[in-house]
Symmetry: C2
Subunit: 234 residues, 2 copies
Amino acid sequence: MEKINMRQYFDYESCAYSYLLFDPCNNKSVLIDPVLEKFDRDMGIIKKLDLDLIGILETHVHADHITGAFTIRKSTGVPIYYGSQSGVRGADFILNDGDCIQVGQFEIKTIHTPGHTKGCVSYYTCGMLFTGDTLFIGGTGRTDFQDGDAGTLYDSVTKKLFQYPDNTQVYPAHNYSGEMLTTIGEEKKWNPNVGDSIDKESFVEAEKLKTRPYPKHFDTAVPANMHCGRVPNK
Amino acid sequence: MEKINMRQYFDYESCAYSYLLFDPCNNKSVLIDPVLEKFDRDMGIIKKLDLDLIGILETHVHADHITGAFTIRKSTGVPIYYGSQSGVRGADFILNDGDCIQVGQFEIKTIHTPGHTKGCVSYYTCGMLFTGDTLFIGGTGRTDFQDGDAGTLYDSVTKKLFQYPDNTQVYPAHNYSGEMLTTIGEEKKWNPNVGDSIDKESFVEAEKLKTRPYPKHFDTAVPANMHCGRVPNK
């Protein structure tokens, strides 16, 4: 069995990564965390690769950019998937912890990883974890809004994601330094928030002391994303 | 035998990709096309991954940013490799067409691919081609300076790179739309400059008619890169 094919894409404006996964044998594909402004690029790539897009998978309700999910569904009819705790309206499928999505011959497993937001999920397939804003390269998502909780995030990472083998590749929803991926082994060893060098209590205390800017697009992104990325009056 | 590990890195300023290749069994590694301004990031990653850097491989004399090669060598003593037609001064090893560099248990093969510049090379290992400015995702490097030649570039791509299997992954030195990789099959099918839809004569004529801006950092980058990235008075 070939490995599922994966393509990573970047949005320079929000520094957000999107991921396209496809079965090279039958071209079934899903898109993880598309960005609204990248609709033309993403649709162009799917057409170019002659893919049969069967799902749009969201890791969470993004606060810094609007998801392309709603617009892609409007254009293609492809269903939208969210974690069951996300609270979004209008999703086609709600994913419980452990639920799998079949993409051709491959299964993508849903892992509930709350903490950055209450409804965050990660996805696992073929040695790759797509961790959204739960686990970054050398960091973790902020925990000070959208029912975020530092202790919950610490547990999600250390008790769930860190159970995967050390060589599991980790693909986050953001990076700001030009890095594309990390591994579970590297994050266990080096992550200053959830790695071996810090305990839960210290992380929770450190999160409390952090002051972070109000997200630039919070007031437009969150309301839109609570409806799968539907922009009012559009 | 495990596949060589590869990490792709991005510089937001120049939209340049760098690549770190390493043998996971013994941590021998090489860096392709490092960017001077990313010295701290790149050295930090090499330290974090506990890699034994044994070479800095350049695809060509870049015109839009200064390579980090000279500075990395100054700091670490690691040798610098260039294609034999590059004309650079101060490289440690000069690579002829077909020359291989051993990185742990893996071989990286040099392919002379002139056209963007006279001295351009691509590198091949483990199903991956690192094509520099010779072959982009849906494009090719400009051919109007540094002894560039459109017909030569067309031949380099179609007679050399396109001989690799369709599923060979292609990693370029630049992208400006957030895409990370392509394949030989996709470029044969879709590349408007060198793909199936265009012949050599038409490409050469089209290149002649293109007007392109003077590269922003040309006057500082090229002189520095002709000396492996040595910046005067530094």
